[in-house]
C-alpha cells in the first residue's frame, strides 16, 4: 500500500514525459490528486494502536544490512498527507499558468519526482533509504530552479541553484557517512549483524562517545535543509529565482523533512547527545527566530519575506523539538503541518499579486483589496495564520512549543515570544502594504478568478477546520511523539 503511494507520483511523472507537451499537465494533476486520495485513505486507516499496519520491508542490499522498508506512524502520517495535499495546488497553479515554457513534460516529471522523493523521506523506515531519498529530493529542484527559474532581469538562473545544491548536498553527503557510522556503532554495541532499520537502530542504541560527533553531522544536514540561521546562505538566491509552484512545495514540505529527521532519527537514536547539546540547539533556534523575523520586516521582496519568515518558523519548530518535552515535541510536529498549510497558499498568493501589480516588491504596491474582497479575505486568513493569531492552529502549535520550552528555560521562551511579536509586525506589514493603502496607478485590483480560488481555497479551508479542532491532528500524533521524547527523558 505504501509502495503504491510512494511510486504513484513518479509513474504519473513518467506518463507526463510521454504525453504531448501541451497536455503534460493532465497526468501530473491526475497523479497528484490520486496520491492525495491514497494518502487520505492511509491517514484515515491509520490508528496509533498498531503502527505496523502498513509496514513493508524487503531486503535491498543484504551485505550492508540495508532494506527497502517503509512504514507510517504518528510522526509521519500527517506529514505525508501534507506533502500530498501541497502538491495538488502547486501542479494546478503551474498548469493554469502553463509553466515549463516549451519543456512542460520535463517540468512536470521533475515536479512529480520531487513528490516521490519527499514521500520516500517521510515513509522510509531504513536509515540509508532515508538518506538516499533525502539526497534525491534536491536533484529535481536543482533542475526545476536551474532550468525554469528566472532572475529579475529574465536571465536563467544557473549560479544561484548551483550554490543551493552544493550547500544542501554538503549536508546530506556528510549525513551519509554519519548514517553508515551509526549502523556500525549499533552493530558494535549490540553484537547483532548490521542493520539500518530505524526501529532496530533505536532498540539497539549506539555508543555514547560516537553519539557526540554523529549528532552534529546529522544536525548540520538538517539545519542546512530547514534552513536555520547561519546556514541559510543558499536560501535568498534560490527563493528569488525559483518558479512559484516549485517554490511553494519546496518551502512548505522540504524544509519539514529536516525537522522530521530530528524526531525520527536524531532524538531516538542519539538520546544522550540530544540531552547534552540541548541548550546549544535551543540557542541556535532562538537566534534564528529573532534573526529570521528581523530580516523579514526589513525586506521589500515578497518572496524574501516569506523565506525569512519560514526561517523564523523553523526556528520555532526546532525549539519545540529540543524542548525534549511531550507538549513541546507535539507542538513542533503540529506546527510543521500548520506552516506547510500556510506557506503554499502564501506563495501562490505572491504569484497572484505579482500578476496584478507587475512586480513583487512592496514599494510601489497597495490597495489591491479595493474591488477584490474575496482575494483580500483569503490573504487575510493566511496572514493571520502566519502570525499565529490565537484562534489559528499555528497558535496552538506555538502555545505548545512555548509551553515545552518554558519547562527547559524561561529566558529562551521569553525571547522566543518576542519573535511572535515581530511576526505580527512583518506579517501585517506584508498584508497592509499590498492590500490596503491607496491603489497606485500601475496595478489593477481585479478579483481572484474562480480557477485560482479553487486552487488556493482548499488548503485555506483545511487551515480553518484545524482552527476549530486541532485535536484531529494532536490526537493521532500524541503517543508516537511522546515515545520519542520519553526515550530522551529517561536519561535525565
Amino acid at each position: 500500500m505504501l509502495s503504491i503511494l510512494l511510486w504513484l507520483p513518479l509513474v504519473f511523472g513518467i506518463v507526463a514525459l510521454l504525453v504531448p507537451a501541451a497536455r503534460a499537465w493532465v497526468p501530473a494533476l491526475a497523479g497528484t490528486a490520486l496520491t492525495l486520495v491514497l494518502a487520505a485513505v492511509v491517514a484515515v486507516g491509520f490508528d496509533p494502536g498498531d503502527p505496523g499496519r502498513y509496514a513493508e520491508s524487503v531486503s535491498w542490499i543484504p551485505e550492508l544490512g540495508i532494506s527497502y522498508s517503509l512504514a507510517i506512524d504518528g510522526l509521519s502520517v500527517f506529514l505525508v498527507l501534507l506533502t500530498a495535499l501541497a502538491w495538488v495546488p502547486a501542479v494546478a497553479f503551474a498548469a493554469s499558468r502553463n509553466a515549463g515554457d516549451g519543456r512542460e513534460r520535463l517540468f512536470y516529471f521533475m515536479l512529480l519526482l520531487g513528490e516521490t522523493a519527499t514521500l520516500g523521506a517521510f515513509l522510509a523506515s531504513d536509515l540509508i533509504l532515508f538518506v538516499l531519498f533525502f539526497d534525491l529530493m534536491i536533484v529535481p529542484f536543482y533542475f526545476l530552479f536551474g532550468l525554469w527559474g528566472r532572475t529579475r532581469d529574465g536571465a536563467t538562473a544557473g549560479g544561484a541553484t548551483t550554490k543551493m545544491i552544493i550547500y544542501t548536498l554538503v549536508g546530506s553527503l556528510l549525513m551519509l557517512v554519519a548514517a553508515v557510522a551509526v549502523g556500525f556503532s549499533a552493530e558494535e554495541v549490540s553484537g547483532k549483524p548490521i542493520s539500518y532499520s530505524i526501529p532496530e537502530l533505536i532498540a539497539r542504541g549506539i555508543g555514547e562517545s560516537d553519539q557526540y560527533w554523529l549528532f552534529w553531522l546529522f544536525a548540520l544536514a538538517f539545519f542546512i535543509k530547514m534552513p536555520l540561521f547561519p546556514f541559510n546562505g543558499w536560501m535568498p538566491d534560490a527563493y528569488r529565482v525559483a518558479p512559484l509552484p516549485a517554490l511553494a512545495v519546496f518551502s512548505a514540505v522540504l524544509s519539514k523533512v529536516g525537522a522530521y529527521g530530528f524526531l525520527r532519527v536524531v532524538l531516538p537514536v542519539m538520546p544522550d547527545a540530544a540531552e547534552l547539546f540541548q541548550t546549544a540547539i535551543l540557542i541556535f533556534a532562538v537566534v534564528s527566530i529573532i534573526y529570521g523575523s528581523a530580516i523579514a520586516f526589513t525586506k521589500i521582496d515578497l518572496r524574501m519575506i516569506i523565506g525569512f519568515s519560514s526561517v523564523a518558523q523553523l526556528g520555532f519548530i526546532t525549539l519545540g523539538i529540543f524542548a525534549l518535552d511531550e507538549t513541546g515535541a507535539n507542538g513542533a510536529l503540529f506546527q510543521m503541518i500548520n506552516h506547510g498549510l500556510v506557506v503554499v497558499p502564501a506563495i501562490l498568493i505572491v504569484g497572484l499579486i505579482a500578476e496584478r501589480t507587475g512586480s513583487e516588491d512592496l514599494g510601489p504596491m497597495g490597495g489591491l483589496a479595493k474591488n477584490a474582497p474575496i482575494f483580500a479575505v483569503i490573504f487575510l486568513i493566511v496572514t493571520m495564520a502566519t502570525l499565529a493569531i490565537p484562534g489559528s492552529p499555528n497558535f496552538i502549535g506555538e502555545f505548545l512549543i512555548l509551553n515545552g520550552t518554558f519547562q527547559v528555560s524561561v529566558a529562551i521562551a521569553i525571547v522566543a515570544s518576542v519573535g511572535v511579536a515581530l511576526a505580527a509586525y512583518y506579517a501585517l506589514r506584508m498584508y497592509q502594504r499590498t492590500m490596503q493603502n491607496p491603489l497606485p496607478p500601475g496595478s489593477d485590483s481585479r478579483e481572484i478568478s474562480l480557477r485560482d480560488a479553487l486552487i488556493i481555497v482548499p488548503m485555506v479551508l483545511v487551515l480553518v477546520i484545524l482552527a476549530f479542532a486541532p485535536q484531529i491532528v494532536l490526537g493521532e500524533t500524541g503517543d508516537a511523539v511522546s515515545a520519542v521524547v520519553e526515550k530522551v527523558g529517561q536519561l535525565g
Partner: protein, 490 residues
C-alpha cells in the same frame, strides 16, 4: 640441474592464447592490403572469445604456468572489465582520424597488445610476470598516445607518458629488487612467507622496497603526487585512447595493486597502509581542486580520474575482503560512468567536429537528448548522487572504510565528492542550459557507426541507473574479486 618444464594449464591459459592469436592476426592483416578492413572485426572477435573463455572458467581458481600466473576471481572479474573497455575502445577508434592515419590494423595491434598486457597483469602472481605484464601494457600505450600525427600535442603526450612512465617502471623495478632481496623469492605467496618468517619487519631494505614499489604502482594508477602526467596525456592522446586509458589502466593497476599488496606484502600491512592513506588523501584533494575550473573536458576527466583513484585506493588501505569488493564494485561503476561520458565526447568530436571544451556541450540538452542524458547521468554518477550506481559505489567504499576503522578517509571521500559537485555540475549546467549553434558536419564515419557509439553511451547510462537501483547482480560480480584474496581478514 635438469630442466623440468613448468606444468602449464592450457585451459586456464586459453584466454591469453586467444588474445595472442588476435594480436598476431591483426599484425598480419596490417600488411595484407585489402584485407586490412576486417582488422577491427578480428580484434573484437578475439576479445569476445577471450571473454567467453574467461566466463567459461568462472568461479575457478588455479595456477597457470607454475604459479607465476593465477586465474581466480580477481583476475577474471578485472579481465572481463578490461576486455569490455578494450572492445569499446576499438569501437571508438573506428571513426577516429588518428587511427586511420596510423593505419587501422597497427593501431588495433597496439591496442590488443596493451589489452593482453593488462589481462596478464591481473593474473600476475610473480614479480617477473608482474614486471613483464606491466611493461607489455604500458609500452603500446606510449605509442598509441603518439599516433595522432595530425596534432602536435599527441606526440608530446606520448613522449611525456613514455619518459615519466619509464621513470615509474624503473623505480618499480628497483623496489622489486629490494623486495626480492629481502624475501628471497619472486612468487607472491613465497614473498609473504619469506617476510613473515624472518624477523626483518623493521629492516630498511624491505621498507625501501615497499616504498619504491608503492611509488611505481601509484604512478601507474595516476595517484598524487605522481599524477602530473595524467591531465596532459589525457588531453593530448586521441579520445579513443584516452577513454581506454582512463578506465583500463586503473583496472589493471588496481588488480595488481590489490594482489601484490594484499598477498605478498600482507605481513607489512600496518606499515604501508598509512602511507597509502596519505597518498589517497593527497590525490583526492589535488584531483578535485585541479578539476575545478578546467575548460577542456578531457583534462577535467583526467583530474577527476586522479580524485576517483584516490577514493579507490581506500579499498586497499583497509586491507580487507570487504575493501576489495568495494574497490571492484567502484571500478565497475567507474567504467560504466566514464565510458558513457566518453561515448558522448567521441560522437560530439567525430560527428559535430567540436573540440573537447566543456563550452562545446552547451545546450545539447535542448536539441540532442540522446547525448544529453548519458553525460548527465555520467556526471551525476561520478558525483555519487542517488539513484546512480556511483552513489552505491561510494556507499560500499565508505562502509568498508568505516568498518576498517578509517572513518576519516570516509569523510574525506565525502568532502571530495562535495568539492567535485562544482565541476561535474558545471558540465551538467552547460549541457542543459543555453542555446547551441547548429552542429557542423565533420567528414565523420558512417551514421550507422555513430548510432552504435550513441547506443553504447545510452547502454552505459541505463546500466548506471539500473545498477544504482538493483545493485545485486553487479555486487555479486564484484564480490568474486574479494574472495579471491582468501587470506584476508573480514
Amino acid at each position: 640441474m635438469t630442466f623440468q618444464p613448468p606444468e602449464i594449464d592450457y585451459w586456464a591459459l586459453s584466454p591469453v592464447i586467444a588474445l595472442v592469436f588476435g594480436l598476431a592476426l591483426t599484425v598480419v592483416l596490417a600488411v595484407a592490403g585489402r584485407l586490412a578492413r576486417i582488422a577491427p572485426a578480428a580484434a573484437i572477435l578475439s576479445m569476445v572469445v577471450a571473454g567467453g573463455l574467461l566466463i567459461g572458467q568462472w568461479g575457478e581458481s588455479k595456477d597457470v604456468i607454475g604459479g607465476t600466473l593465477e586465474l581466480d576471481g580477481l583476475s577474471i572479474t578485472f579481465s572481463l572489465l578490461i576486455l569490455l573497455a578494450g572492445i569499446v575502445a576499438v569501437l571508438f577508434s573506428l571513426g577516429d582520424p588518428a587511427a586511420r592515419e596510423a593505419g587501422r590494423p597497427d593501431f588495433l595491434a597496439l591496442l590488443l597488445g596493451s589489452v593482453l598486457g593488462m589481462v596478464l597483469l591481473t593474473q600476475a602472481n610473480n614479480l617477473v610476470t608482474f614486471f613483464i605484464a606491466l611493461e607489455l601494457f604500458s609500452i603500446p600505450l606510449y605509442a598509441l598516445c603518439g599516433t595522432d600525427l595530425r596534432r602536435e600535442d599527441s606526440l608530446e603526450s606520448g613522449l611525456k607518458y613514455l619518459i615519466i612512465g619509464s621513470l615509474g617502471s624503473a623505480t618499480l623495478l628497483f623496489g622489486m629488487a629490494f623486495v626480492y632481496g629481502a624475501s628471497g623469492a619472486t612468487g607472491f605467496e613465497q614473498i609473504a612467507d619469506g617476510l613473515s618468517s624472518s624477523d626483518l619487519l623493521g629492516d630498511p631494505i624491505i621498507l625501501t622496497g615497499v616504498g619504491l614499489v608503492t611509488v611505481g604502482l601509484a604512478f601507474k594508477v595516476s595517484l598524487a603526487p605522481f599524477h602530473q602526467w595524467t591531465p596532459d596525456v589525457y588531453q593530448g592522446a586521441p579520445t579513443a585512447v584516452t577513454a581506454f586509458m582512463a578506465v583500463a589502466t586503473k583496472l589493471a593497476g588496481f588488480a595488481v595493486f590489490a594482489r601484490f599488496f594484499l598477498t605478498a606484502l600482507e605481513p607489512l600491512a600496518d606499515e604501508w597502509d598509512v602511507i597509502l592513506a596519505a597518498i589517497a588523501a593527497i590525490s583526492i584533494v589535488v584531483g578535485n581542486l585541479g578539476a575545478i575550473s578546467q575548460d577542456s573536458l578531457k583534462r577535467m576527466l583526467g583530474y577527476s580520474g586522479i580524485a576517483q583513484a584516490g577514493y579507490m585506493v581506500g579499498g586497499i588501505v583497509v586491507a580487507s575482503t570487504e575493501g576489495v569488493e568495494a574497490l571492484s564494485f567502484y571500478l565497475a561503476a567507474y567504467l560504466a560512468l566514464n565510458l558513457g561520458t566518453f561515448a558522448v565526447l567521441v560522437v560530439r568530436e567525430q560527428r559535430d567536429g567540436s573540440d573537447d571544451s566543456i563550452e562545446s556541450l552547451r545546450g545539447i540538452g535542448r536539441r540532442d537528448r540522446a547525448l544529453a542524458w548519458p553525460i548527465t547521468i555520467g556526471m551525476l554518477g561520478l558525483i555519487g548522487l542517488p539513484p546512480t550506481v556511483g552513489f552505491l559505489g561510494k556507499l560500499y567504499l565508505i562502509t568498508a572504510l568505516v568498518d576498517g576503522g578509517w572513518t576519516w578517509l570516509g569523510i574525506l571521500i565525502v568532502l571530495g565528492s562535495m568539492a567535485s559537485l562544482a565541476y561535474y555540475l558545471r558540465v551538467v549546467g552547460t549541457v542543459w542550459s543555453g542555446e547551441t549553434e547548429s552542429p557542423g558536419h565533420a567528414p565523420g564515419p558512417s551514421s550507422r557507426l555513430l548510432g552504435l557509439i550513441v547506443g553504447v553511451g545510452i547502454v552505459f547510462a541505463v546500466l548506471s541507473i539500473g545498477f544504482g537501483i538493483l545493485p545485486d547482480p553487479l555486487y555479486d560480480f564484484a564480490a568474486q574479486a574479494g574472495e579471491a584474496i582468501g587470506s584476508l581478514p573480514g
